[in-house]
């Protein structure tokens, strides 16, 4: 657990951070967000003492960091930055091994650890360990950066825009992977960003800063539904209702879908189709392969013939998607409901537009 108590940092005339108090619980991701120059990076860098606070105290698990040797402190805190900062004269292996080497780990243990980390961030050890950073893509470099920060298994991670330097598509993939990794490693993380969507996506709690002060510190849900003042309201934007949808998983909104096996005789299907206009077509393994319109069914000899074979990846959602993705997909396709599939491409149900609508109004009513 990290606790900042009345932290202030002055630079001659200006005050970068002003009387900031913050508590980050163990195993949580706290995202510090604000416009550039609001003091968020300064705050981050005071925790591992790259910058010393002018006044105030910082505690990690109850210990005042000022009483710990700065280098020892930093060895116990993972550090990842926007520019990644991989050392160009070292291979990927040596880059990840930096902190374990500084801690004098045994060679075998380091090799094992590097391999483990490369697998964790989804890069093949055999392919990447011997590469130099110049041969990596932006996304790969960022992943190595995260692996390097995790190297000595520090309980705390400080991350300064760790996904800042890549294109939006890669960023989203990295964020998804990061959430996945965090579920596995459960670190206490302080992450700085200026990207609100990133903050909403990754954080357990968001801390919004303005000119060195903490304006609001709440969970993303609360931040979006109950911004404390005009600054926060402006910051989270007019589309905050939409943003809130990205915090809600579709799991609870999946309803059983009307499906039909592709090999069933048409007559039988028409008889049992009820009032459904559309039916999702699945194969013997329950895998989604397309959909069929009931009106065309009557003229067709088999389901296979009547079926529209869509790109199932295009028309369906993964069960880990959010309501925002569901809504966006429905609007894009012009569907009123969308099928949901699991990791094995099997149909698990569908999500309807009306239910998403109901979910948002329900949230509004609760306030």
């Amino acid at each position: 657990m990290i606790r900042l108590h009345q932290i202030t940092r002055r630079y001659e005339e200006t005050i970068a951070v002003n009387g900031l108090s913050l508590e980050i619980e163990k195993g949580q991701i706290c995202v510090l967000i604000g416009r550039s120059g609001c003091g968020k990076t300064t705050t981050l860098r005071m925790i591992n003492r790259l910058i010393e606070p002018t006044s105030g105290r910082i505690f990690i698990d109850g210990r005042d960091t000022a009483s710990i040797d700065a280098e020892k402190l930093r060895l116990s805190i993972g550090y990842a930055i926007q520019s990644v900062g991989l050392f160009p004269h070292m291979t990927v292996f040596d880059n990840i091994a930096v902190v374990p080497q500084l801690l004098h780990w045994e060679k075998k243990r380091i090799a094992r650890r590097v391999e483990e980390l490369l697998e964790l961030v989804g890069l093949k050890p055999a392919e990447y360990a011997r590469k130099y950073p110049s041969k990596l893509s932006g996304g790969e470099a960022q992943r190595i950066g995260v692996a390097r920060a995790l190297a000595a298994d520090p309980p705390i991670m400080l991350m300064d825009e760790p996904f800042g330097a890549v294109d939006p598509l890669t960023r989203e993939r990295l964020q998804a992977q990061f959430i996945h990794i965090q579920q596995e490693v459960k670190k206490t993380i302080l992450l700085v960003t200026h990207d609100l969507d990133e903050a909403i996506r990754l954080s357990d709690r968001i801390a919004i800063m303005e000119s060195g002060r903490l304006v609001q510190y709440d969970s993303p849900e609360v931040m979006l539904s109950r911004p404390r003042n005009k600054f926060v309201r402006d910051f989270v934007g007019a589309d905050r209702a939409l943003k809130r949808l990205s915090r809600i998983g579709i799991k609870n909104f999946i309803k059983p879908a009307a499906t039909v096996n592709v090999n069933r005789p048409v007559k039988q299907v028409i008889a049992s189709a009820g009032s459904y206009r559309w039916l999702w077509v699945v194969d013997d393994n329950q895998r989604l392969i397309g959909w069929v319109d009931r009106s065309t069914l009557a003229q067709s000899a088999s389901i296979k013939e009547a079926m529209d074979e869509g790109d199932t990846g295009e028309i369906s959602l993964s069960d880990s998607a959010t309501l925002r993705e569901a809504l966006s997909r429905m609007l894009g396709l012009g569907f009123k409901c969308i099928p949901v599939i699991d990791d094995g491409q099997r149909l698990v149900g569908e999500v309807a537009l009306g239910d998403i609508e109901a979910a948002t109004t329900e949230e509004e009513d609760r306030q």
């Binding site: 790259l50 550090y79 900062g85 160009p88 950073p133 110049s134 920060a149 400080l158």
Partner: protein, 249 residues
């Protein structure tokens, strides 16, 4: 990339061997020089064999360049550290002055104090070669991207660890360029040592000037030029193995 480097090293080794064979065979020199200058009675400087002269020359350059490196690189490192930053202007001024001050003048001033021979020559060469080493050490260290240092310190490296693991490896190429320039300058400048009896390839040149014997001058100048080219290629090869900044990042 690395195969190319290996080939360059092999080529350099061959060139070095050829150079050694060339200077070891005084007979060849005599034949060639005699056919070029049939009018001269002697065409080979009688004081010492060419091999000895080259060896003396290499010693002069090696000792003075060695001192230059041993003092110049730490000096350059020191003035880029927080503890030495205040001395940066003074150090750059003094080293610049060292290079603008003519080595012959250094000899003239040093001989009354240190006497004739090796010592005053080495001091003159050291002062003359210091600037490129110090200047390139400073430039190389300053060119290390700040975010790499941020990463190094942020991960828990001490200043010394960051210096040896990150800053020096990354600036090695630029520092070595300085060393190369310094060594090449010294190979040429070491000629003047002969004036005060330090030996080396300057001896036949001085003798040739005094006796108006062109053969002696060529005997000294040609091996010195070849020596400079060899040293240049050797150090250039060494540099390219530290080429991180240019071909990476």
């Amino acid at each position: 990339m690395s195969r190319q480097r290996t080939r360059r090293w092999i080529l350099l080794g061959v060139a070095l061997g050829a150079f050694l064979v060339l200077i070891a065979n005084t007979g060849w020199w005599e034949t060639v020089l005699r056919s070029l200058f049939p009018g001269e009675t002697t065409v080979i400087h009688p004081r010492a064999s060419l091999l000895v002269l080259v060896w003396e020359h290499i010693q002069l350059v090696a000792i003075s360049s060695g001192i230059t490196i041993i003092i110049g690189i730490p000096l350059g490192i020191w003035v880029t550290r927080p503890s030495g930053r205040d001395f940066l202007p003074i150090v750059t001024d003094i080293t610049s002055f060292g290079q603008t001050f003519p080595p012959v003048a250094v000899l003239a001033l040093a001989v009354p104090v240190l006497g004739f021979g090796l010592m005053p020559t080495i001091i003159a060469l050291f002062l003359y070669g210091l600037l490129p080493v110090v200047r390139n050490t400073i430039a190389g260290l300053r060119a290390v991207p700040p975010h790499l240092l941020d990463a190094a310190y942020g991960m828990g490296m001490s200043r010394l660890q960051a210096l040896f693991r990150v800053e020096l490896p990354l600036s090695a190429q630029v520092i070595l360029v300085g060393v190369r320039i310094s060594v090449i300058i010294n190979i040429g400048t070491a000629m003047i040592g002969a004036v005060i009896g330090a030996g080396g390839l300057g001896s036949p040149i001085i003798a040739g000037l005094v006796r108006d014997n062109l053969a002696f001058i060529i005997e000294g100048a040609l091996p010195a030029a070849l020596l400079a080219i060899l040293a240049d290629q050797f150090l250039a090869n060494l540099e390219s193995s530290f080429a991180y900044i240019s071909d990476k990042v």
